[in-house]
Subunit: 207 residues, 4 copies
DNA sequence: GATGAATGAGGCTTCATTCAT
DNA sequence: AATGAATGAAGCCTCATTCAT
């Protein structure tokens, strides 16, 4: 319980000013985490960039980990909301297009501040499996698996769970690596096309 | 150069005893890095696990970074030797089998102590682009690209460099994630089959 | 500038408590430097003697050098204020008395915590030419040279700069050595008399 | 006894080779002490510069202090031999010339590797009053005092011990400072002339 | 005698966190 | 609520010295 609590926010801000303070701190934290990494980031730096005192920071976040936890929660909410918006069940007309849309959605989701995602997820595993993260990951997998199971049939028997597991990691890694190593490609149609090819080729039965 | 190269080993061991010491330190470092991560690892822990004094450690490695650099070098030598052994140019008979072999080789290479690979590569980028790493990555890409360019033809025009970039990240990530999250799958034929499907499907022109 | 200036104080204390802390740390540092020398002094010793934690020390002084730099600045301010107070230009009546007063002033200035002066000046040269020190030394030389040039005439041509250079070192050394080796003499009229004789004899043309 | 012994050489070298080794170590030590200061000097540096192993160094000198002690002894032997050679009692003809010779001798003595003298004497006081040093200093003072007492008469009563004390410090400091701050002046007739003026003026009764 | 590998106490410094104001 | 001064555990690293070979 004590461990779990370290990562929990200290108090929910009630007043408008307090809410603004929390926002500004989180923004600052995101910025510093991205540019300095988790260990390279000091709470003082975050406070300074946020323009608040270190004491104020600790009033809202009882530890450095709590910053990670909160950011992780937010980030995943954003990722999840993207997925939920786009993956509402609906009648399928064009299978190919369907799968392609799904992938585009995943790429879009992983493209939300990917450097921050990287830093945070790295910590997520160290902090101990944060419930938020696990939940989200599970939901993403479920969503994807749902779409696929409703729409695909394989010639040979395949473990759909494994397929989804692999797809997600492959896509995520491709997106993140590209952000870091070839940022100029992000957003080009060519890049999206290749990612789609990766996934569609994988899902489509081979001759 | 002397001041800057914190990552270079401090001295070449001359006596047999010293060589053994270096080995034992590196083994210890690998172990602790894997279990505690780079920042979570202290030089004292490494020395203790190696059964040597902290002074001895610093006699051979002038900094924590130097441990990473040395391990990185060794790891890559191993990875590269796997690749070189298997990817010797030779007459192609069965294209499908050929590509599948290539992928198996990559999986094998990324399966060499993957948790350590993860920790080290993460640091590699922070330490500054270590030559060893860049070289290796370049050579892997070149090798793969070579095999592919000799054996594949695409219906639509594709940027082969981008294709290889994506394949490598996708494969690597899939292997690493599996080691961490589903270790029981590593080595199963099913897993290898899926990875092959991922790559072959990607490379094969879609109908 | 930020990286290089290890000798600059880290932050200006705002609250009254902080100011008091800075004072107490500087006093402690002066004491320990005098009794143990620069290298013999550890920052921990200083913090302990000041009755603050080591962290507090580093909050205000980013390094051991910064302690030296600050003490040097203070010491020289004191020395300079003594000189400025006494060496205000004024009409000369008794030349002999005039020079004697000048010397008395120098002795008084070098007599301000001379053991500390020794330790600090030794470091000043190692730290790299601190501006404060150079400025002060230059001003002392200028002041002395000014008084002398307005009041002395030599039979043979002499390099007044060299004369001043020698006088200052000779006086300073005599004062400092006496503090260390014959402290009982400091302040006796006899001692002052001899120093005056040293300087006046030097300045007065020989027959 | 244990403290005293730290500074004593470990063994007298008997063989020629051993003697050469000791010499080469001492030369190296002198060099490194001068360029890096006492604390800045590591025994390993000394060994390396001497071209011997650290083990060999410790075979002849049981500690870093022992190096200082030995160098101090040698240096003072040299200083003392200069003084002894020149200050042999002899009939006085020209008083003025006599005193001037004495001063020249002192300057010459203090000019023998003055930077090393500075480093060593600094340590001498920290190591604890080394007998060698005290003896030498005493002998120098005695010698000088002897010459002066036989040849000078003052109008007013003066403490000759104090006079000598002051002269020696004044001269030494002037020489050493000049080496550090105005090396180009060392050896010029002008510089010697000023030092002589300093001393002669001091000794000669004022009108 | 020589070598250099090994030791470990101890130094400097950072930074997450607490708490008095 | 906010501030920022104070804390101190803990990390990295150096270097004088010992000792097995």
């Amino acid at each position: 319980m004590s461990t779990r609590n370290r990562a929990a926010p200290r108090k929910r801000p009630r007043q408008a000013r307090a809410k603004a303070t929390v926002e500004v701190i989180l923004e600052a934290a995101a910025h510093v985490f991205v540019s300095s990494g988790y260990e390279g980031t000091t709470t003082k730096q975050v406070a300074e960039r946020a323009g608040v005192s270190i004491g104020t920071l600790y009033q809202y976040f009882p530890s450095k980990e709590a910053l990670v936890a909160m950011l992780l929660e937010r980030l995943h909410q954003r990722v999840l909301s993207i997925l939920s918006d786009k993956l509402v069940p609906h009648p399928i007309t064009d299978l190919d297009q369907e799968v392609r849309d799904l992938m585009r959605t995943l790429v879009e989701a992983y493209g939300v501040n990917p450097r921050l995602q990287r830093v945070l997820l790295e910590q997520a595993s160290r902090i101990g499996p944060l419930q938020v993260v696990q939940e989200i990951e599970a939901r993403v997998e479920t969503l994807v698996q749902g779409v696929l199971s409703r729409n695909l049939e394989f010639e040979r028997p395949r473990d759909l769970g494994l397929v989804v597991f692999i797809i997600i990691r492959a896509l995520r890694s491709a997106v993140w690596s590209t952000v870091v190593e070839r940022p100029e490609l992000i957003g080009t149609p060519e890049f999206v096309e290749e990612l789609s090819a990766l996934v569609l080729g994988y899902l489509r039965p081979r001759r």
